[in-house]
């Protein structure tokens, strides 16, 4: 009886890992002292975060006038960054929910990090709607809480209000989903830890013992959350797109926005996962868990969503022409050929043209290519949001009010600050939690056929022989 490695499917986990190997590999990063690379990265991230906080405080203290927005362009980098970050968050939910339902087992290699990324990205995103308002101290007016003003409710017609609900729901569900997955892993870490670490991990592991009942409840909860998260993947960015689609401004007022935004969000989300995972697998030595096959799979998603986005861009142009509506026509001519033409062409190049390279398997499986393409896509998607927001507002109906906008240093500082927040949290995350879901990866080790390969094969054959012997003796 000789083991055969499938010629079609690569094993999802490489390196002939035993369960123990997996535990050791994935728990080690949380146990050893931080590497110099981690410390340097953390210092940079915290500096950026500090810069961001300073810039936010200046904004709140002095006023939105510290930004270069103006009477024509009421939203600029703030909402661009908001939509960008929300989009980045989408990969996590897609991987954890939709791919779970589609039984894509390769997701287990990246889902933990992607979900963490979702949470941090949503935190960065949620910052902007709060700080971009003129009077942040009364931002609670957004909430439909019982009050003594009549009672005066928020305006349920306003997409900004829908946004509030969509994002808060999304954040809560994502957080719960992520944490639910972490519980067995925290228990694993707890079991290996001593002293204070053990105390902390036993606290966060909620007393997980790994009993069958625990596993059963864990599975049920995961399934329920997956069921809740699946529509959220579609709804959140749909509602974000309503911020624009329900307006009357040519270039915003279009029915194509919801699917186009969702595709774009998944697109940018996967690109961000790629960016982070390529670095993480290298730094934490997780090449066996996050393999080229993972990267290739994600590149396929990027290719598909990038093409959807490209079709959407072309559809917009077609509709602008086909509508015969002069304002719409002008809005799109202006996007492509007006003063912000460079942003439009940056968007087109990065989002539509560059992913097409992923038709080539060689590029799809190349770590270097993938890394740069992922960065490109993130730049392109940032440009997309900027093009939609600033370019459109800069030249709308009345030529007398046309204007131009470049961000102030404060706005740039806040954006850098959100990058700082994101990476600070991510760096802390890789230190305190297993970056790859230990429990889930153990599920797939066997089904991936690893037990039939090399050393494992001998071990396996011994076991089989022993068992046969036992059975024969008993009989």
């Amino acid at each position: 009886m000789s083991a055969i490695t499938s010629p079609i499917r690569e094993p999802l986990v490489q390196g002939n890992k035993s369960y123990h190997d997996i535990t050791v590999d994935l728990c080690t990063p949380t146990e050893r002292t931080p590497t110099r690379a981690w410390v340097i990265a953390f210092i940079i991230a915290v500096s950026a975060l500090t810069l961001g906080i300073v810039c936010i405080l200046i904004t709140i203290w002095v006023g939105i006038g510290t930004w270069n927005l103006n009477r024509t362009i009421g939203w600029g980098w703030d909402i661009t960054n908001f939509v960008w970050w929300i989009g980045i968050g989408h990969a996590g939910t897609l991987i954890s929910a939709i791919l779970l339902l589609f039984r894509q087992k390769w997701r287990t290699g990246v889902n933990r990090a992607a979900e963490a990324m979702t949470i941090f990205a949503v935190m960065c995103a949620a910052l902007f709607p709060a700080i971009h308002v003129g009077r942040i101290w009364i931002v609670f007016y957004f909430f439909p809480y019982p009050n003594t003003r009549g009672p005066l409710w928020p305006n349920f017609d306003s997409p900004l209000l829908w946004d509030l609900f969509a994002i808060s729901t999304y954040f809560i569900v994502s957080l719960l989903f992520w944490y639910t997955g972490l519980i067995p892993d925290f228990a694993t870490v707890r079991d290996r830890a001593r002293g204070l670490r053990q105390k902390i991990y036993s606290y966060v592991a909620f007393g997980w013992t790994g009993s069958a009942k625990h596993w059963q409840r864990h599975e049920s909860l995961s399934l329920i959350l997956a069921g809740l998260a699946t529509p959220l993947v579609l709804s959140v960015h749909t509602i974000v797109s309503f911020d624009f689609a329900t307006s009357v401004i040519p270039g915003w007022h279009t029915t194509i926005f919801p699917p186009y935004f969702v595709a774009g969000a998944v697109f940018s989300g996967f690109a961000m996962v790629q960016t982070l995972m390529i670095i993480t697998r290298k730094v934490l030595n997780l090449q066996d868990y996050i393999t080229r096959a993972h990267i290739e799979s994600m590149n396929k998603v990027i290719l598909v969503t990038g093409t959807i986005v490209g079709v959407a861009y072309l559809t917009e142009l077609f509709i602008a022409w086909y509508s015969g509506y002069v304002y719409e026509q002008f809005a799109f001519f202006n996007r492509a050929l007006g003063p912000y033409w460079w942003a439009y062409f940056g968007m087109m190049t990065c989002n539509v043209l560059s992913p097409q390279l992923f038709w080539f398997k060689k590029i799809r499986r190349s770590i270097t290519w993938t890394f740069f393409m992922a960065v490109f896509v993130n730049i392109g998607m940032w440009f997309e949001r900027f093009v939609i927001i600033a370019t459109t507002l800069a030249r709308d109906y009345l030529p007398s009010s046309w204007s131009f906008y470049v961000p102030s240093m404060i706005e740039v500082g806040i954006f850098i600050g959100t990058l700082g927040i994101f990476f600070t949290f991510f760096l802390i995350f890789v230190r305190v939690a297993p970056v790859v879901a230990i429990a889930e990866i153990k599920h797939i080790v066997t089904s991936a056929g690893n037990q039939y390969v090399d050393d494992n094969r001998d071990h396996h054959e011994e076991l089989v022989a022993e068992t046969i012997q036992k059975v024969e003796q008993e009989s």
Partner: protein
């Protein structure tokens, strides 16, 4: 459940009847402290003292907090009336009729006061001169009362600085130093007041060697001289633009700045309004000028001439008219063929309307004015469109005497100089020399309200009252008298200028002992001069009536004139500015005028109607269409670039604007800027170009010169403060490749050079926008047909909405609406400043304007169309359109902006969080966000540049400045959106008035601030449901349209299309 007591229990201990608990629960003061339990054995807090400790900590905490919070709390005083004055009802405005005489401006006004503070001026429609109209400067005048730079009292010079003095010091100095032999010079602007003239006459009678030198900062002396020579009447004639079917303006900005723009605009527009769209009639206006003036921008045809061609053009026009009317021809008039062709057309039009045409000329050259007089004479216009009956007295000065004064001062021949409300050290090109010479004069007194350039060189400052604190009168036109009455007690220790004059003259007619000496003097003067002709029974009745009306008018006497001008001699003396590569025009700007309003932030921040730039003067340079995709400015200059302007030996670095309609080979820049002592707001704003003015042989100031050199780009202006960046709506140019006429605007707007293959824009995407509707008079019939058809199409599409809307609700009760006649709007900007005054719109300063943060609720958009190098212009007042299907309302997450039952789109500032979604979603871009704390109403850092936040009081926070605020309108905080409210406070007031009078509301009860300010009646506000109202009459015109009607905003503002009467062949 035996443990229950009376069937109730509080907690488990109650239920189980825990013995400890039961023991505590029976005590009146329960000493049981759960905290003690939780501490266990570690009882660091002694239980027995816990309450006392708590009180100690509480006391300390409260005390500390009180001290910390109490230190810097600003004290705001609100003092109620102890004894309420009879005339003041808190909350109810009182209006006083008065007049504004400022520089050469005159405006008869009603001053609105609230609780004794003047806060706004309205036009006085009883005046036969301004007829209820106002100007931007008149609207802003009230702010100058609260100028923080005003002298707090009389001052005398010690060393280089002024120190406090008393009026007795000054009176003693004057009386001590002067005697009947003293050489005294009184320098003044045009004295419009007959009683002030009397006081000066008394002074000159006392001091026979006193000489009055009267000049106008922007001179009309040549016109006065020419009329003196040609007709024997040295005065500006009474122009009747309303009677002219053809108007020709030659370098005369009569709608913006020239002599009496409020009056002229009102008359001019009479013949411009389309009263019947089916039988349209209007006058035709030619403007012959070098730069794009406000008047030129309203003209049907503009004839561009270089400064060096103005004189010869007038000669040519004279000859062309003479040829047709049989006058004698004169030598000269060599002009290029295209100008000749255009002038022939002008002459043809003039000749076709003999007796009902009018030629006005604003140049300061006597010979040119004589030729223009001759043209009007040949056309038989005297007695019809202009006459010498009620002649205009707003310009009487002659600046040539200032030069002799300068020489006299330099030679030490002058003992004393009295500067009365004018500023020659700034106005004149030799200003600095003048100031130096003035400093050397033994006795020099200025009556200026603030320390200006001239006052700084004087020995004494004897500040006069502000006009709103003073008594006075004015005679802007012969037989038209305006009274000036105080609307507030003098804020500072100032003294009426005329009173000072009379005190120094030792006049016996002045009753110094009386409470208001000059008031008595004024009354006596009116009793003697005007009462006898009035026909009133008693002087008291006459005076009360005049005071109530603010005006007294007597029928003008008809003056027989004969023309005796020597046209041949004149033709030889027309201005000969030497032709050069670049010639330059200096002009008076609509906002700050000659510079005397430089310290008025409202006027500084008012964008120039034509250039749309605020806070400073910009060099207008010509532009050319490059035939492909750009409007190239002179020397490659772009808007907001800095360039060096050199004339003679002087070079100044000036910001530049590419000006459509600026003639090739010419540039232009506004006068009145670059004040060195212009106060807090005015100092250092713009560039002083006065120094480049020249005088001609007769000593008259010339506002055109040649030999200007403009460098290429020398950098960018730090704060380029324009409020409009796209200027055109469909200008046409020739395509270089095909030689066809194309839509240059779109080619220049959309396409960048990198995509050279695409040369044509999406045709119609700019000009087909339903924003500006315009037509030529000859095409009105077809235009109306198309417009009606297109609107029906839009309305049909809008009716397809699946949402029913609330239309039927708005047909009940009041529904407010507005009508704006684009033909009546000249773009003067009075409405925009009135809106600022009425609604407490904050001033944001140059830097903020440069960041497009201006806060104006009402702006006047200006678009060029037609020929790229000589375009036509349309102005469009744009404010909140109060859409009944408002895009801003449904996107606000917190309901801060919503719709009233009367169709108002209203803002609840308190509720506004400041997401700015409403502003983004407004198709008209009329919503304004408080980016910074512009009003100094909060504890946030103020936006005002260059002040020490700890030491200085921001301008907007100064209690003096804040006296101008309208108490009916909220001062908005930082971070909220604001916008036009249709003057909702006025609506409420009007509704209340109708209610207390037990009648239904009339449109006349509710007038928005912009409507009352408008000199031409372009804006009509009212209730669209009032079928008999003024508004409804206007709404029936087929020329009306709604801006962006197809967006289905259901706007409440209707615009009436712009019709011009262009002579297409010309």
């Amino acid at each position: 459940m035996k443990a229950e007591q009376n069937g109730t229990w509080v907690g488990d201990k109650d239920l189980t009847q825990d013995p400890d608990f039961m023991e505590y629960s029976h005590k009146e003061f329960n000493e049981y402290l759960p905290l003690v339990d939780s501490l266990g054995d570690n009882r660091s807090i002694e239980v027995g003292a816990s309450r006392r400790d708590f009180l100690k900590y509480l006391g300390f905490g409260l005390g500390a907090a009180t001290i910390a919070a109490g230190c810097e709390t600003p004290l705001k005083r609100a003092i109620p009336y102890v004894i309420k004055p009879d005339t003041i009802v808190p909350g109810v405005a009182t209006y006083y009729a008065s007049s504004i005489v400022n520089g050469g401006d005159f405006c008869s006004v009603l001053v609105k006061t609230r609780e004794g503070r003047p806060i706004k001026v309205e036009g006085n429609d009883m005046s036969g001169v301004t007829k209820g109209g106002t100007s931007a400067r008149a609207q802003a005048f009230v702010l100058s009362l609260y100028d923080t730079d005003r002298f707090r009292g009389p001052k005398k010079k010690e060393g280089d600085a002024f120190v406090d003095a008393s009026w007795d010091d000054i009176d003693a100095a004057v009386k001590g130093k002067l005697n009947s032999r003293s050489q005294i010079r009184i320098v003044t602007g045009t004295v419009m007041s007959p009683t002030a003239q009397k006081s000066i006459d008394e002074f000159t009678a006392k001091y026979p060697n006193a000489k009055v030198i009267s000049y106008d900062p922007i001179s009309s002396a040549a016109l006065l001289r020419a009329n003196g020579t040609d007709f024997g009447i040295r005065a500006v004639p009474d122009y009747h633009f309303d009677k002219a079917k053809v108007v020709v303006g030659i370098q005369a900005d009569f709608l913006g700045t020239w002599i009496s723009p409020i009056e002229y605009a009102k008359d001019y527009v009479e013949n411009r309004k389309i009263k019947d769209a089916h039988k349209p009639e209007m006058s035709r206006h030619f403007q012959i000028e070098t730069y794009m003036s406000l008047t030129g921008s309203n003209a049907d045809n503009r004839v561009q001439v270089k400064p060096s061609q103005v004189g010869s053009s007038i000669v040519y026009l004279y000859n062309a008219v003479a040829a047709k009317t049989g006058g004698s021809r004169v030598r000269g008039g060599d002009v290029p063929s295209e100008i000749a062709k255009a002038l022939d057309k002008v002459a043809e039009n003039l000749n076709a309307h003999r007796g009902e045409s009018l030629v006005v000329c604003g140049t300061n050259n006597t010979a040119e004015q004589t030729l223009v007089n001759a043209i009007n004479h040949l056309l038989g216009n005297y007695g019809h469109t202009l006459d010498f009956g009620a002649v205009n007295y707003m310009r009487k000065g002659d600046e040539s005497e200032l030069i002799s004064l300068l020489h006299d001062m330099q030679e030490g021949k002058v003992d004393a100089v009295f500067v009365m409300g004018c500023n020659p050290a700034f106005d004149m090109p030799f200003g600095n020399t003048f100031a130096e010479a003035l400093a050397g004069v033994d006795l020099s007194i200025s009556t200026a309200l603030t320390e200006d350039e001239t006052t700084a060189a004087c020995k004494y400052a004897a500040p006069a009252h502000h006009l709103l604190e003073a008594w006075g009168d004015a005679e802007p036109k012969k037989g038209h008298y305006g009274l000036i009455q105080p609307t507030i007690a003098p804020l500072f220790d100032s003294r009426q200028m005329e009173e000072s004059m009379l005190v120094w003259a030792g006049s016996e007619n002045l009753d110094v002992a009386s409470e208001q000496p000059y008031y008595e003097y004024l009354k006596k003067s009116w009793e003697a001069d005007l009462f006898p002709s009035s026909g009133e029974s008693s002087f008291r009745a006459f005076w009360d009536k005049c005071l109530h009306n603010g005006v007294y008018e007597v029928a003008p006497t008809h003056a027989e004139i004969t023309f005796s001008g020597d046209v041949n001699a004149a033709a030889g003396k027309v201005s000969v500015v030497k032709a050069s590569e670049h010639e330059i025009t200096f002009f008076e700007t609509v906002a700050v005028g000659s510079g005397n309003s430089a310290n008025n932030p409202w006027l500084n921040e008012m964008p120039d109607p034509v250039t749309r730039c605020a806070w400073g003067n910009y060099l207008a340079v010509p532009l050319t269409w490059n035939g492909v995709n750009a409007f190239d400015g002179l020397n490659g200059l772009e808007d907001g670039d800095l360039a060096d302007l050199t004339i003679g030996e002087n070079t100044e670095r000036v910001p530049v604007i590419k000006q459509f309609g600026q003639m090739q080979g010419t540039v232009a820049i506004g006068l009145g800027f670059g004040r060195t002592k212009g106060g807090r707001a005015g100092t250092g704003v713009g560039v002083n170009v006065q120094k480049w003015l020249t005088t001609d042989d007769e000593g008259l100031m010339q506002y055109i010169t040649s030999g200007a050199q403009v460098s290429d780009k020398q950098g960018k202006e730090e704060f380029y403060s324009a409020v409009q960046y796209h200027h055109t709506m469909g200008v046409k140019g020739i395509d270089k490749a095909t030689q066809e006429v194309i839509n240059a605007d779109e080619a220049a707007t959309v396409f960048n050079t990198y995509f050279g293959a695409v040369k044509q824009g999406p045709q119609g995407s700019l000009v087909e926008r339903s924003i500006i509707r315009r037509a030529n008079l000859a095409d009105v019939e077809g235009f109306v047909h198309d417009l009606v058809h297109e609107r029906e199409h839009h309305q049909h599409l809008n009716d397809q909405s699946i949402y029913a809307g609330y239309k039927e609700l708005y047909e009940e009760g009041h529904h407010w609406g507005m009508h704006i006649d684009l033909n009546a709007c000249t773009g003067c900007g009075a409405c925009a400043v009135a809106c600022i005054a009425e609604n407490n719109v904050p001033v944001v300063g140059k830097e903020e304007v440069s960041r497009h943060h201006e806060m104006t609720w009402l702006r006047i958009d200006r678009y060029y169309y037609g020929d790229v190098e000589n375009p036509s212009v349309v102005y469009q007042p744009m404010m909140c359109q109060h859409c009944d299907n408002a895009p801003c309302e449904n996107v606000c997450p917190v309901n801060a902006t919503n719709h009233s039952s009367e169709g108002l789109n209203q803002m609840a500032y308190n509720r506004c969080v400041g997401t700015r979604y409403c502003a983004n979603n407004c198709p008209y871009k009329v919503r304004r966000f408080n980016w910074l704390d512009y009003t100094a109403a909060d504890l946030w850092p103020i936006n005002e540049r260059g002040i020490d936040a700890d030491a200085d009081v921001p301008w907007a926070a100064d209690n003096l400045t804040r006296m101008v605020l309208n108490p009916d309108v909220t001062v908005r905080a930082r971070g909220v959106i604001e916008k036009c409210s249709f003057c909702v406070q006025r609506l409420q007031e009007g509704k209340l008035r109708a209610k207390t009078e037990m009648r239904s509301l009339r449109d006349a009860d509710v007038k928005s601030a912009c409507q009352t300010a408008c000199p031409t009646g372009a804006i009509t506000f009212g209730d669209t449901n009032n079928k008999k109202g003024d508004l409804n009459k206007k709404l029936s015109s087929p020329l009306n349209y709604i801006v962006l009607e197809e967006v289905n905003t259901d706007a409440s503002v209707n615009y009436q299309a712009r019709i011009i009467n262009k002579d297409i062949d010309a």
